[in-house]
């Protein structure tokens, strides 16, 4: 309004926007860094794709920070530097995931087929191709199924105790604490516990069932945590309305609270199942390995996909390594599908 003359206008303009890099500055830096890196690699004594990328990133960080320091000052230069570092962290997470998925798919597809999925390893020598994971898929389904049948209700009950009954009680405090600690128990220790407690002390055989029990121990804390979160989301008004209608507490929980949170609980259960499906270590101790189809989880060992992979790697022949990769592909398909289904379900039926 009062700024009619040219001089003050331009100086005010400068104090407001002058010390700022234009929006295209990062892109220019990025393009320049890539070109410079490619050119430098040709001159310098180092070479390789990874080295080029690292050099380009360093050049980008350096050039952008220097430019920003010159134009915007120290504070904004530091800000841009940190922002770049933080986004790079995200990219760093992407590299191993893509590498793992690509490696497993490429190497796994070599012998992955209908034949592979529908045949066992019975009478297949490690030296020869052929055979498959049929017995391991059966074992995985049964062992994980048993673990889920035992673990899901126990985990859900613990969560119900913590949220609905235990509030403020000393026991509930310790249960919460040890559920948290239990999530950090190494899986091999769970296997050792079942081995010492049931197989050494009680003299049980190593079967699919003992394997399932060791997985249950790993599953319970995951299940408790997810169910607990979901039950806490159920609004208290629903409980109070039920009580006001004279509905007893257990019926309120079973008919009002749990159904409201059910989709979230199922999502948590599926994630817990996905987690134990890939467990290897406890199964090596508690149920061992088998090359043949065994439908019974209560007599003799069964094979599972993870222990199958372990066994095939241990044989170390080209044919058995091919089988290990194909089984890894099978396993990762199952686990990723379980995860995707769980997350989709969680998104569609979110507690509102």
């Amino acid at each position: 309004m009062a700024l009619s003359t040219a001089g003050p206008t331009s100086s005010l303009h400068q104090t407001l926007t002058g010390g700022k890099l234009p929006g295209w500055a990062p892109w220019v830096c990025a393009a320049g860094s890539v070109l410079a890196a490619v050119a430098l690699i040709a001159v310098l004594p180092v070479n390789g794709r990874a080295q080029t990328i690292i050099l380009a990133v360093l050049l980008f960080v350096g050039s952008q920070t220097a430019w920003s320091f010159a134009v915007e000052g120290r504070r904004h230069a530091v800000d841009r530097l940190v922002t770049t570092l933080i986004y790079s962290a995200g990219v760093i997470a992407l590299v191993p995931l893509v590498a793992i998925l690509a490696t497993v798919i490429i190497k796994g597809l070599k012998v992955f087929s209908g034949y592979f999925l529908l045949h066992s390893m019975r009478n297949v020598s490690p030296l020869h191709p052929g055979g498959g994971v049929y017995h391991a898929i059966i074992g995985t389904l049964e062992v994980v199924g048993i673990a889920a049948i035992i673990g899901i209700p126990i985990g859900a009950l613990v969560a119900i105790y913590l949220v609905e009954y235990g509030a403020g009680k000393r026991l509930a405090y310790w249960v919460t604490f040890f559920v948290d600690v239990m999530t950090g128990i190494p899986s091999i220790v769970a296997g050792l516990f079942v081995y010492t407690g049931l197989i050494l002390t009680l003299g049980w055989q190593r079967t699919g069932f003992t394997g399932a029990l060791s997985l249950t121990i790993l599953m319970i804390p995951v299940m408790v945590r997810s169910t607990e979160e979901m039950l806490k989301l159920v609004p208290n008004e629903l409980r109070e309305s039920a009580y006001a209608l004279g509905v007893p507490k257990y019926k309120t929980i079973l008919r009002v609270v749990v159904p409201t949170a059910l989709s979230g609980i199922i999502t948590g259960a599926m994630l817990a199942v996905a987690r134990i499906t890939g467990e290897t270590a406890p199964l090596l101790l508690t149920m061992f390995i088998s090359a043949s189809i065994n439908f019974s989880p209560f007599t003799d060992p069964q094979a599972t996909l993870p222990t199958f992979i372990w066994d095939q790697i241990a044989r170390g022949t080209p044919a058995s390594l091919d089988r290990a990769w194909a089984a890894a592909l099978t396993l990762i398909l199952i686990v990723v599908l379980l995860n995707l289904m769980a997350r989709l379900l969680g998104r569609v039926y979110r507690v509102k």
């Binding site: 800000d79 962290a89 009950l157 002390t201 790697i313």
Partner: protein, 330 residues
């Protein structure tokens, strides 16, 4: 008491029926609350049982052991006389986990900050999905991939470290062979604990009161200054515990380490030379070929691992618990 509403109803019959139903309901309540409490107690019993059974089954082997269990690094429990000690196992476990921490904790914090305060929502959703998928990859696949894909790609890096930083013992390699070493195990573990570190620190980062964030931005702070002065001070205990939970996971990881390392029983500070071992990996590798004393020795090693991870997890949880207590003030 549960039936008080029925008392106000006009027809007399429900009133007369209510005490009977009331008793049945109380029984249902007692059964259900008893069941759920029993499940809670079961959790405590399992934790106590793990410690107890491992201790009871480890003692016979420890009694016949003629070497020092803590300071020796031989592992010949089935020999006569039996000799075994955990020094090399402890060294390998702690070293590989420390490498994993050094690599994964800064990156994990970065991812958590990107998810909580930097990335636009659409990018954050994709990034969270990537991290979740990384967490879902079974450890045996990490091990297989670590051997087949990652290991050949680390040779150049390890050789470079030896050439330029070889005067530091941990980077030195006198053999010129870089396969199946503790450093490789550390890198694989770092990738495996990345989701743990980032998920837990993200949880605390998003709990920072928006008022603190908005206040610092309104005072002209850049985004990084806002993070440094509002987010990090508030989240510090949670960040420490995220790092420790990652450490706990790295200490106990079994199959990936067992696959990646070539198990040896010596303490070698040259971390890029082949060899090394860990508690968990040693149990998985040796258990099925061990005799009774050998199994007892492995159970003793498992007990040490259990106590170690228990301690790390308890300390980590105490940090979070302390934080939860004071966040109520907001």
């Amino acid at each position: 008491m549960t039936m008080t509403p029925t008392a106000t109803q006009p027809p007399p019959s429900p009133v007369s029926a209510s005490p009977i139903r009331g008793r049945a309901n109380r029984r249902g309540d007692r059964i259900f609350s008893g069941l759920s409490m029993a499940a809670g107690i079961l959790v405590l019993a399992i934790m106590a049982g793990i410690g107890l059974f491992l201790l009871v089954k480890a003692v016979p082997a420890l009694r016949v052991n003629t070497a020092n269990f803590l300071t020796s690094s031989v592992w010949l429990p089935d020999n006569t006389p039996s000799r075994f000690g955990i020094a090399a196992l402890a060294f390998g476990t702690v070293m590989s986990s420390l490498i994993a921490m050094v690599l994964a904790v800064p990156v994990g914090y970065g991812i958590a900050l990107a998810l909580a305060h930097y990335a636009a929502k659409r990018i954050a959703v994709i990034l969270a999905f990537i991290v979740d998928l990384l967490a879902a990859v079974p450890s045996i696949i990490f091990g297989l991939w670590g051997l087949a894909w990652l290991m050949p790609r680390t040779f150049g890096l390890f050789a470079w470290l030896n050439d330029h930083l070889g005067w530091i013992p941990i980077f030195r390699n006198d053999l010129g062979v870089y396969t199946r070493c503790l450093a490789l195990a550390g890198i694989v573990l770092a990738i495996m604990i990345l989701p743990t570190v980032s998920a837990i620190s993200r949880e605390v980062f998003v709990q920072v009161p928006p008022a603190h964030i908005e206040a610092s931005l309104a005072l002209g702070a850049t985004r990084w200054e806002m993070v440094r002065m509002a987010v990090i001070p508030f989240s510090k205990p949670g960040m420490i515990s995220a790092a420790m939970l990652g450490l706990g996971r790295a200490l106990g990881e079994t199959i990936a380490v067992a696959l990646v390392l070539s198990a040896t029983f010596n303490i070698n500070w040259h971390l890029t030379e082949p060899g090394g071992n860990s508690f968990a990996a040693n149990i998985a590798l040796k258990f099925n070929e061990a005799g009774p004393t050998g199994q007892g020795a492995l159970i003793a090693a498992g007990l040490v691992l259990f106590v170690l991870t228990l301690a790390v997890n308890i300390v980590a949880r105490l940090f979070i618990a302390r934080r939860a207590a004071f966040s109520g003030a907001n």
